[in-house]
């Protein structure tokens, strides 16, 4: 559904036809299926995000409200109401735009759920402290706040600074050092194991696993 800025302005000036008003209200109060970016990843707290968005909107509204009161109360209360709506819309657009920007620029939120369902390609994600490449057929839940990574498949992690990471299932916090690249493998099958090896020591891995890595990451 295409809603133009002009139409929104028209809506707030009560100049819309009944059909146009219905369109705008439908857009305002319903979840748009086309906005895939608004679909939060699994395990994300929807309420938390809602609260964060409202807090942002509120802060804009409060800053508007503390401006000096004009003489003509009626005229300015009308203006305040209008600017409040405009500010809400503006804040909403900024927050949603920011969310879209983050999604598109691969700067994910602290907790991200990523799937690379390709059988050939590698998916790269950049965080503040490290970059991670997901091998083919890899699923990962990455918590950037706790440093917990729960995954099945293969990862390449290149820290931008020394980072402490715990891989789900290993119950051991590992220090991954800046400037190095680490190969991490996890199968999540019975009797499986998590393998974490510095890329420079890749020749120490069993040849079968080296072959897998060659096929996955071309390293």
């Amino acid at each position: 559904m295409k809603i133009s800025n002009a139409l929104i302005e028209k809506y707030h000036h009560h100049q819309c036809s009944a059909e146009e008003r219905e369109m705008v209200e439908q857009w305002l109060f319903s979840v748009d299926d086309e906005s895939e970016e608004l679909q939060l990843p699994a395990r994300e707290d929807k309420l938390l995000h809602k609260q964060m968005m409202w807090d942002d909107i509120k802060s804009v509204m409060i800053s508007t409200a503390v401006q000096p009161q004009p003489d003509d109360k009626k005229r300015y209360s009308m203006l305040n109401w209008k600017s409040g709506i405009a500010a809400s819309l503006l804040a909403g657009i900024i927050v949603l735009g920011g969310y879209r920007f983050y999604s598109k620029r691969n700067h994910p939120l602290p907790l991200t759920y990523i799937t690379n369902s390709s059988t050939v390609k590698v998916k790269n994600i950049a965080y503040n402290t490290y970059t991670v490449s997901l091998g083919p057929m890899t699923k990962a839940t990455i918590n950037n706040l706790t440093g917990l990574i729960d995954f099945t498949g293969s990862l390449l992690i290149s820290p931008k600074e020394d980072v402490l990471i715990t891989f789900e299932g290993s119950n051991e916090q590992m220090m991954l050092k800046m400037g190095q690249t680490y190969v991490v493998l996890s199968g999540k099958t019975v009797n499986d194991r998590i393998i974490v090896v510095n890329e420079r020591n890749i020749n120490d891995l069993p040849p079968v696993i080296q072959q897998q890595l060659l096929q996955h990451f071309n390293i």
Partner: protein, 405 residues
């Protein structure tokens, strides 16, 4: 005026002559070194070092080593007569390198399409046989036969070894041996269980081909142990004794075959025979109570093996970084062994032994006692420290006989 011009011409000619003479002297000063060392530094950088003696002194890789930053040269290499050879990982090329004035240079390369090098065998002179997998799905064993002096491929193709079937997903070649016109290829099959787990068939296979036709003659099977050999570009697993009895080891431990339920064993193909000797099996795991990887012949039926200590490492994650390896002197005939009094060594697989006469040079990476070449005389039993690798050295990854003189 004319005189001074003549003098100037003479002076320039003299200068050119002196320059030519000095440059010739520089070339002749390029001394061939006996040994090369491949060093992995603490900062992750690789260095090659060439030296004429392993008996003493100290080398600092970041000071006199040749940085390998600009070339795709890792430690899975073949070293001979001053040159380094490697199948490139990312390119379908088998490349020849040389160190020239402190810089590693590519000399030449031949095509090696859909080929992952596992083992090599030097035939006469500069004829080299490469054995490996197809790197598209690792289900075939292939060969490339080439002359390394001019880098010309003589022959290449697939070996008619049965591909993995049933539950098996890939094939691993670990042994290559040539006896006159008979080529022996040791191999086994893997089953991939997940992206991080696999297992290996319980059977060691030894295929015999007629060379140079590469015609399959027969396949020998043995279930006393599995995963014959390994990648001899990284570490050695076989040899001939003075009587041309061929010995090879199997590596079912977690770092290779991942069949820790099977013992590490030494098999033999007797001189003149064409099948594995069913009467001979040296079970190394029984006395050592661990798995071994790597074997080097000393002489007089004696060899060195490198063995892990499972009480000191947790798994594959620290297998390469924890110092837990021990060296044993083994007697192939008496099937007895004796531990060498060396510091615990780190690095899962390494080309770490050079044998010259009665002496074995053993590179040991100790977490506490530094990185040294140890000098071991297997006849007298004497063991002492030789060359030290200092500075940023983390691992001496390989030592090689670079030139024979």
């Amino acid at each position: 005026m004319i005189k001074s011009a003549k003098r100037a011409v003479l002076f320039i000619n003299l200068l050119i002559l002196i320059l030519l003479i000095t440059s010739c002297r520089d070339q002749s000063r390029q001394v061939k070194n006996k040994y090369s060392l491949f060093i992995l530094a603490k900062n992750g950088k690789n260095y090659l070092m060439e030296t004429n003696s392993l008996a003493g002194g100290k080398l600092i890789p970041e000071e006199t080593g040749v940085s390998l930053e600009k070339v795709e040269l890792d430690r899975d290499i073949i070293v001979k007569d001053g040159f380094y050879y490697r199948k490139e990982w990312k390119k379908p090329l088998f490349t020849k390198y040389k160190i020239n004035n402190g810089v590693i240079e590519k000399v030449a390369a031949v095509a090696a399409a859909d080929f992952s090098l596992e083992n090599f065998y030097w035939l006469s002179g500069d004829t080299l046989l490469l054995i490996g997998n197809n790197d598209s799905d690792f289900k075939k064993i292939k060969f490339i036969l080439l002359k390394t002096e001019k880098m010309i491929v003589l022959d290449s193709g697939d070996l008619t070894i049965p591909r993995p079937s049933g539950k098996y997903t890939s094939i691993a070649n670990g042994i290559v041996e040539m006896r006159k016109n008979k080529l022996f290829i040791g191999y086994t099959y893997h089953q991939q269980l997940s992206s991080s787990n696999y297992t290996t068939s319980d059977t060691t296979y030894m295929a015999e081909f007629r060379y140079p036709e590469m015609q399959l003659l027969h396949i020998d099977k043995d279930t006393r142990s599995t995963y014959p050999g390994g990648l001899n570009t990284v570490q050695n697993y076989s040899f001939n004794d003075e009587l041309h009895n061929f010995y090879f080891m199997t590596c079912p431990g977690i770092a290779l075959g991942n069949r820790p339920d099977r013992p590490t064993g030494i098999f033999r193909i007797k001189a003149g025979e064409e099948a594995i000797d069913k009467e001979y099996f040296f079970n190394l795991s029984a006395p050592i109570k661990n798995h071994s990887y790597g074997m080097w012949y000393l002489g007089d039926g004696k060899a060195l093996v490198r063995s892990e200590r499972k009480d000191l490492f947790k798994g594959l994650n620290d297998h390469y970084s924890t110092a837990h390896f021990e060296f044993y002197l083994i007697d192939l005939n008496g099937k007895v062994l004796q531990k060498l009094n060396l510091p615990l060594d780190k690095g899962t697989r390494r080309a770490c032994v050079i044998v010259a006469g009665d002496t074995a040079y053993i590179a040991v990476n100790s977490s506490k006692a530094g990185n040294f070449i140890w000098i071991y005389n297997y006849k007298t039993g004497s063991l002492k420290k030789g060359l030290e690798l200092g500075g940023s050295t983390d691992f001496i990854m390989r030592i090689d006989q670079l030139n024979n003189f």
